[in-house]
């Protein structure tokens, strides 16, 4: 049994794999616009669940641009096999969209574009479904003057809205949580943007999960040690390669070719792929409180 003495705050930090989804597939952006298919989301999800993922994020990466929202079958399959919270985002625009996502098996929904365009949606959704069901996702891009502005449509659309103001507003309107993404750092493996994270966690009293920049184990320990107020991290690049390497042949993946393409862009060389078991063991070794799953 683990020595408990180091743990004062019993609430564990959450490690949340994020899966970007296009149609029936898990995808990953290789360069700014290109999306590569990596495989079936529900297989990755199961693998991560078994390794101790604390929650899962599914992000429909094209829905926002085309107004589509076709995740339901994937959500349904996932919800029947994994028993940790599932948050779904991408193209969620109305109360009905939320209802449908929850019906399919999502536990929470993440809204970005629709919340910024119509902040009242947060209030309404929070009243109808409960505050804890509504996550506001903020995509931040640093400006030359040092401010961070919120963007929509996966970092493509300029809104002019300052991130900390928006985060505070989202909380006031009834958001249960914020997921904060540094668009600048995402996929680069160069570490989290502490400045951005500090600014947001300082102004809100609801939990903040951070995303964008994790490339190696050290980044995770660093961010939890630097900013103890964060509730968790969402990670993608650092995890997906591990699954592919392991299951490349078993998953019928051959049609997608080898994985070297994923390393072809300069930024990919900063990603030291790992798995959740390693991540959790590493964090525990650094006295950072997280939940480790044992084989039963």
């Amino acid at each position: 049994m683990l020595v408990v003495s180091i743990i004062e705050m019993s609430l564990a930090y959450r490690i949340i794999p994020r899966l970007d989804i296009k149609g029936p597939n898990l995808v990953k952006g290789v360069h700014l616009e290109g999306l590569r298919v990596l495989g079936k989301p529900e297989y990755f999800a199961k693998y991560y669940y078994e390794q101790g993922a604390d929650e899962l994020f599914y992000q429909d990466v094209v829905a926002s641009l085309y107004g589509r929202n076709s995740l339901h079958e994937i959500i349904s399959k996932t919800a029947k096999a994994i028993f940790i919270p599932l948050t779904v985002g991408g193209g969620i625009r109305t109360i009905d969209d939320i209802k449908n996502a929850l019906r399919s098996g999502a536990d929470k929904v993440s809204i970005n574009t629709s919340a910024i365009e119509n902040p009242d949606l947060i209030k309404k959704a929070s009243n109808v479904f409960g505050k804890s069901t509504i996550v506001v996702a903020i995509e931040a891009i640093k400006q030359p003057d040092g401010h961070y502005l919120a963007f929509t449509d996966n970092g493509r659309n300029y809104t002019g809205i300052e991130v900390t103001k928006w985060a505070k507003n989202a909380e006031e309107l009834g958001a249960g949580e914020i997921v904060l993404t540094s668009v600048d750092r995402e996929g680069t493996g160069s570490g989290f943007d502490s400045e951005l994270i500090k600014r947001v966690t300082e102004v809100v009293s609801i939990p903040v999960v951070v995303h964008g920049g994790a490339g190696r184990l050290e980044h995770l320990a660093q961010i939890f040690n630097n900013i103890t107020e964060i509730s968790g991290v969402s990670i993608a690049s650092i995890l997906h390669y591990d699954y592919i390497k392991k299951y490349k042949d078993l998953d019928g993946y051959e049609s997608e070719g080898n994985i070297d393409f994923l390393r072809s862009s300069k930024s990919m060389s900063h990603i030291h792929s790992t798995n959740l078991t390693n991540i959790k063991e590493y964090l525990i070794s650094k006295n950072i409180n997280c939940r480790v799953v044992h084989d039963n």
């Binding site: 019993s10 919800a79 029947k80 028993f83 929850l102 479904f129 804890s132 249960g176």
Partner: protein
């Protein structure tokens, strides 16, 4: 068949999925006849206390829930379902609950000053060994380690009048609160067994599989 009581406050399908994975037959229903005929019942829920009580009243489910509990068959309340069993809640002004168990539902903001609210994520449940021994049923907490992690998401906690029914406690920001109760055939938890991985599934299995 286990009845998952539908009072329009979400969170029903996760419970059904979890039971299905365990091979336990269940039905989501607000039909009183079906509920009374079930071998066990679950009152899940996510959302606001006052809204929930309104729905329970409109759907005429309060007396059936009391009757079911009096029948002695296993009953499980989860999260909001746990809160509703008690006397009253201070969420948005004082609202009366079902008063099946005595106690109050209070806001974390009373005690949690330096951490975020809602309390979201995996936290340890410390089991009270005196309470978890239960004669007529397999205890839901059988084989659950005394510092197991479960998934929580809430801004309010329950303060039961009778401390003897407290089955597990959990700590957040140095504040210790009741994370589940066990009284006779009623087990109710603040955490979500259906969202707590294999540990949570074990609780559901313990309580309902052998019926």
């Amino acid at each position: 068949m286990i009845a998952i009581i539908d009072y329009q406050m979400s969170n029903l399908f996760s419970v059904k999925n979890a039971l299905e994975c365990l091979g336990i037959d269940s039905e989501i229903t607000s039909d009183v006849t079906k509920i009374m005929a079930a071998k066990g019942a679950i009152l899940p829920g996510v959302g606001a206390f006052a809204e929930a009580m309104k729905h329970l009243k409109t759907l005429d489910l309060i007396q059936p829930i009391k009757d079911f509990i009096n029948s002695g068959k296993p009953f499980m309340g989860i999260c909001l379902g746990f809160h509703l069993l008690f006397t009253e809640s201070e969420e948005f002004g004082v609202t009366r609950g079902m008063d099946i168990l005595q106690g109050k539902v209070e806001s974390f903001s009373r005690h949690v000053k330096s951490k975020k609210i809602p309390h979201i994520g995996w936290n340890r449940i410390l089991t009270n060994n005196d309470v978890i021994k239960e004669d007529s049923f397999i205890s839901p907490l059988k084989d659950i380690n005394s510092d197991e992690y479960m998934y929580f998401v809430h801004s309010f906690y329950v303060d039961p009048d009778n401390k003897d029914i407290i089955a597990t406690e959990t700590e957040y920001d140095s504040f210790t609160f009741c994370s589940s109760v066990l009284k006779g055939n009623v087990f109710a938890s603040q955490f979500h067994p259906e969202k707590s991985g294999t540990s949570g599934l074990k609780i559901l299995k313990n309580y309902f599989l052998s019926l």
